[in-house]
């Protein structure tokens, strides 16, 4: 704000200084005039003379972008009379667009300043070409003309007169002038607050149709802002997750429109680069993780029979850090310079000054998300370790709870590495430390290591909870207990453990230590084993069952198809000869969207259809649900399946455009353009089909059927409570007790269990553990 005013003033002063320096030059009249825009034409006398009239013609009242106009500048009056050796000269300055000469009577001082030449000083009018800018800003034309008498005395200028004319051509108002980031951010906060307030008031009104009174509204809204109840916080997470799923989806659509045809200019590369960066960051951190956290908040305490989480206030803090962090991450977008580093934010690009300004806040927002995840981790790990209802041993925990346990363990232990990396980047970008300054010896690969040490567990963090959902849904839908409960648990734990030693496969072509590349190539192959166990166990669960087809059953079967495909395509990457070609191509994009959309998102769609009645007490519409599944499943596959083929023929990620083979060089085959069009169309269909889910949820809230306590016939504790459950979810003084249909196991700890038991605090220890 102040800075730009100061620099504008400085620019003005320096312009004036330059003008004064060139004064001697401009007085040598016949060769042209320059630098008179601000000082006025002092080359022929000090004052403008009213007897001379300058005029500009040929300009439209408002221009079209990039169109070229012929501009004629002329003057009348003054001492210029026919027969003089020289008649006059001019200087034309435009604020926007570019000038060009048409003949030798004019010359350019720059793209926006022109004058006459020695040849042209015997004319009274000159014609130039002006190409309008694309910006759409209003354009000023400033013209100075001399009318000269052609004498030689006094350096040729005595008795000459000059005039000034100014014309403004209005633009089409296209691009906004550069905005002040903080003003824009403030405006956006105000606007979104207003929108949010309207929504909140409407929801309040629906709940209290008898009327709006502050006495009723204040405690209601305070309750939502301050609640530490796991169910309310779960709902808040859920709303945030769905909102950003939409935001991330819209950014994906922008990307797809741009890529629908080769060489398109739908969005500029600056925006494209922001969109793919924020699409990744949003989808992983602001959509997938909050959706998972939402379900974990809602379901985990209910499933283990706990009244609430262990640290409810920390839980509230975990949530509230997220919307604020989201605001920081998007700060740059509001001011036109969102982060453009890719969600991986590779160093040293991420710390260079020619990144967009939003990168700093992108890092800052993620630091807050790291804090949020850390608090969530403490909370959930403690809750699951200490607050299971009587009778519920580790191996009686429902599989969804197990999946949240494994996911939180991975997240909790890996995210500090990311946090440290982000802090290094943030400090590099603010106070100027040199962690990733290559000239100072910084190692760009350190960031990749810290990022992927977290990043690989992270992608399992978002997929493992979906495993839990699928395990619950498929068992309930098949009316069976899950096949191989223990091997399911061991497989999940195995995935969790392996995730920490495989991350190097993201860096196979990065110049990382070759030994580590080799080691992670071997370990990456191992991932297939526990994943395979899980898939086969799910399939076997259906065996001898009686599959009741509901919407969540459909999503689960859909998950099994897409996740298996995603798993298989994942096996191509640890093979080095394949990886050096497939790395950074659309084959990778296809793979991780098959796992993250076909896995996580499908899993959580199943979870929505499965647990929504429990959360709201209202059933969802099955017909709409089936329609949602069918349209989404088909458009999803049409969206991501072709990407495999595009990747193999060499289409790379994160580029604003792609090249089709021409006569001169080989690039993508011609059909690649058609396939991209197909992908883009499918993307819109996929997005639209998911709106059905939103419609379904709203419809259910307004006039859904009342849900019973156990609509699907599940066994775990959440089905014991009413729909929706009371607060606190279970009476702390009268916790439910889990019975076991297998009587033989409960009281016989295994050898490992006996070891634990020796280490544990005895029941009869007086005031066990205290001092």
């Amino acid at each position: 704000m102040g800075g730009s005013a100061v620099s504008r003033r400085l620019a003005l002063i320096s312009l004036m200084a330059i003008a004064m320096i060139v004064v001697p030059a401009v007085t040598s009249l016949p060769s042209g005039i320059s630098g008179v825009k601000d000082t006025g034409c002092n080359c022929h006398g000090t004052e403008a003379d009213p007897s001379v009239t300058a005029s500009i013609s040929g300009l439209p009242s408002s221009y079209n972008a990039s169109e070229t106009y012929n501009v004629t500048v002329s003057f009348t009056g003054g001492p210029a009379i026919d027969g003089n050796a020289n008649l006059g000269g001019f200087n034309l300055w435009v604020s926007e667009g570019t000038l060009a000469t048409l003949d030798s009577s004019t010359q350019l001082w720059g793209p926006n300043e022109a004058s006459h030449t020695t040849e042209g000083n015997d004319q009274r009018s000159w014609t130039l070409e002006w190409t309008a800018p694309v910006s759409g800003k209003d354009v000023d034309f400033i013209l100075h003309t001399n009318s000269v008498n052609g004498n030689e005395g006094d350096g040729g200028s005595s008795g000459d007169m000059w005039a000034k004319a100014q014309v403004e051509v209005t633009g089409f108002g296209g691009e906004l002038p550069e905005a002040d980031p903080f003003k824009v951010l403030a405006t956006l906060i105000v606007v979104s607050s207003v929108l949010l307030s309207i929504v909140v008031l409407y929801v309040f009104y629906r709940n209290n149709p008898e009327g709006f009174e502050w006495e009723r509204f204040a405690p209601w809204i305070t309750e939502w802002l301050t609640s530490t109840d796991h169910k309310k916080i779960g709902t808040l997470y859920f709303v945030q997750g769905l909102f950003f799923l939409g935001v991330g989806g819209i950014m994906a659509l922008m990307i797809r429109v741009q890529l629908a045809t080769p060489g398109a200019e739908f969005i500029s590369q600056g925006y494209y680069n922001q969109f793919f960066t924020l699409h990744g960051t949003t989808m992983i951190f602001l959509a997938a993780m909050p959706l998972i956290a939402g379900f974990a908040n809602w379901i985990v305490p209910l499933q283990i029979g706990a009244p609430d989480l262990a640290f409810p206030r920390l839980n509230a803090l975990s949530f509230w850090l997220q919307p604020v962090a989201a605001l920081l991450i998007f700060t740059g977008v509001f001011s036109g310079g969102g982060a453009d580093t890719g969600w991986t934010g590779y160093a040293p690009y991420v710390v260079t000054e020619n990144t967009h300004a939003g990168v700093s806040m992108w890092a800052a927002g993620q630091i807050m998300l790291v804090a949020s995840s850390t608090l969530t981790g403490i909370n959930f790990l403690t809750t699951m370790a200490v607050m299971r209802a009587p009778g519920m041993g580790w191996f009686q925990m429902p599989l969804f709870t197990w999946s949240i346990l494994v996911a939180n363990l991975m997240l909790f232990l890996s995210i500090p590495a990311f946090g440290v990396g982000l802090i290094q980047v943030f400090l590099d970008r603010t106070i100027g430390t040199a962690f990733y300054d290559v000239a100072a010896g910084g190692d760009p690969l350190l960031w990749s290591h810290l990022f992927w040490y977290f990043g690989h567990p992270e992608v399992y963090v978002v997929i493992v909870p979906a495993f839990g959902v699928i395990s619950e849904v498929i068992a309930t839908s098949a009316r069976r207990s899950i096949f191989g409960y223990k091997s399911m648990v061991y497989a999940m734990a195995g995935i969790g453990l392996v995730s920490f030693i495989v991350y190097g496969h993201h860096m196979f072509t990065s110049g990382m230590s070759p030994t580590l590349r080799f080691v992670t190539m071997l370990t990456t192959m191992l991932v297939a084993v526990p994943t395979g166990i899980k898939i086969f166990n799910w399939l076997k669960t259906m065996h001898g069952g009686s599959l009741v087809y509901r919407t969540h059953t459909l999503w689960t079967l859909g998950f099994l198809v897409t996740f298996t495909l995603g798993g298989i395509s994942g096996m191509f990457f640890p093979s080095m000869a394949l990886d050096v070609h497939l790395h950074e191509t659309y084959f990778v994009v296809a793979h991780f969207h098959y796992v993250l959309v076909g896995g996580t998102v499908f899993g959580f769609f199943a979870a929505i259809y499965y647990w929504y009645p429990k959360m709201t007490g209202r059933m969802l519409d099955e017909r709409l649900g089936v329609l949602h599944f069918l349209t989404a499943f088909i458009s999803y596959n049409a969206l991501f399946w072709p990407m495999h083929r595009l990747g193999v023929v060499g289409m790379i990620r994160r580029t604003h455009t792609y090249y089709i083979t021409t006569d001169d060089f080989q690039a993508l085959p011609e059909w690649a353009a058609d396939w991209n069009m197909l992908i883009s169309v499918s993307a819109f269909l996929f997005f639209a089909s998911n709106l059905l889910l939103v419609v379904n949820m709203i419809k259910s809230l307004i006039r859904g059927e009342k849900a019973p306590a156990d609509p699907w016939g599940g066994w775990s504790f959440e089905w014991m409570t009413s729909s929706p459950p009371p607060t606190p979810s279970f009476d702390p003084h009268n916790l439910p007790e889990l019975k076991d249909a297998n009587e033989h196991v409960a009281n016989e700890p295994s050898r490992l269990g006996q070891m634990f038991r020796r280490l544990m605090v005895d029941d009869d220890a007086s005031e066990g553990g205290s001092h």
Binding site: L497, F500, M512, S513, P514, T515, V761
Partner: protein, 119 residues
């Protein structure tokens, strides 16, 4: 509070032990160890590093065991196990991030190459 070391109060004993070890550390850095280092055929700096590392370990254990109650309480056993849980992940991090060094792909060591095994 019944814990004792050599018949004296554990906190006090631990405190004195820690002070002593820290004094040794400071002394090891300040003292001229070059002649001793030659005896171990290493540079003085290496010897200092070894002394510092070796002393850091008992200090670490003493603080964890006595002050953080990982020794001698009812819940010490299970909490020690809890405290050690991240060890695997820390080791992986130090091996993979702390101790690797960037190199070109052709620097793949022989033991990773099939050709080395005649395959």
């Amino acid at each position: 509070m019944s814990n004792t070391i050599l018949g004296r109060d554990a906190y006090w004993m631990n405190f004195f032990g820690l002070m002593l070890l820290t004094l040794i550390e400071v002394a090891a850095v300040g003292a001229d160890l070059s002649s001793a280092a030659e005896g171990f055929s290493m540079t003085e700096r290496q010897l200092t590093l070894w002394i510092l590392t070796v002393i850091a370990i008992p200090k670490f254990i003493m603080i964890a065991a006595i002050f953080m109650h990982l020794w001698g309480e009812n819940d010490s056993g299970i909490l020690t196990l809890t405290a050690l849980f991240p060890a695997f992940f820390i080791i992986i991090m130090i091996l993979f991030i702390g101790l690797t060094h960037p190199d070109a792909s052709m620097g793949l060591p022989d033991w990773c190459r099939p050709g080395n095994y005649g395959l």
